[in-house]
Symmetry: C2
Subunit: 167 residues, 2 copies
Amino acid sequence: MNAIFARRSIRNYTDRPVSEEDLHDLLHAGMSAPTANNARPWEFILVTDKDLLAKLPMDNYTLAVKDAQAAIVVCGDSTKDKMMQGALNVVDCSAAVENILVEAADKGLGSVYYAAFPMEHRVAHLREVFSLPENIVPFAVLPIGWPEKAPEVSDRFDVSKVHENCW
Amino acid sequence: MNAIFARRSIRNYTDRPVSEEDLHDLLHAGMSAPTANNARPWEFILVTDKDLLAKLPMDNYTLAVKDAQAAIVVCGDSTKDKMMQGALNVVDCSAAVENILVEAADKGLGSVYYAAFPMEHRVAHLREVFSLPENIVPFAVLPIGWPEKAPEVSDRFDVSKVHENCW
């Protein structure tokens, strides 16, 4: 089964380190997502420093990141996309995030999609941790680590969501 | 090289039909994307009818869909997500779209991401074609077909977009 179907949200990680090569591949996957007008309006903060990882939880729902081996903070540059007229391009950032999650699953790595934007307290927390410039919007935090246990596999096809040749 | 890196925007398709099984797998990939609070706030219109495909172009930039063998119209249900309080969950829809595009690339199929939302004229066009209810927001149109020529491969890693342990 391929990684798209195998991907699950993983919140518990072992102490096994994640190699630089694997982290590079995850970033490469993010940058391989399509963007409107090829604007590529994202930036990626790669966090491997333990003290910095400990500062990443944005609230009680995102604590798992402090026990990860690394994290990728996906940010959007609100000035980089004419179409959005200075707003964050949520579509482009989301596609990059999903590529990273699928690439992680393909390697057997675990991650989970912790949205920052549009939750104000999460955005504010990350702005402070990284002293981000105004135009850089923290979009999501993706903890990276080797899963403590193998994720369960389930079939999530739902025929009721398919409409053939009409609504 | 895996499908994430191989994916390209493909706008020219051959007459070779796309099997029902392949279309099923694409829809399955879309439904395998993560969604906030597991709300799964999307619906998929699968278009294989030639007359209906001919009606799908939303403007002069999206004409390729009429020459595709099929199309998947990804829609969001604005009532299905408490977090978004009645707004479209753009993140969830984008992740589903990216999964479909990567799964298509994995099969050697071609597609391209034609955003509908937030462009009002495109949303209005699809609302009319499908007589969509108010809460169903047309999000993207994905033409599906076998590529007329093999896509070029290029490395899109950009080291200037990586920030290690700091902004």
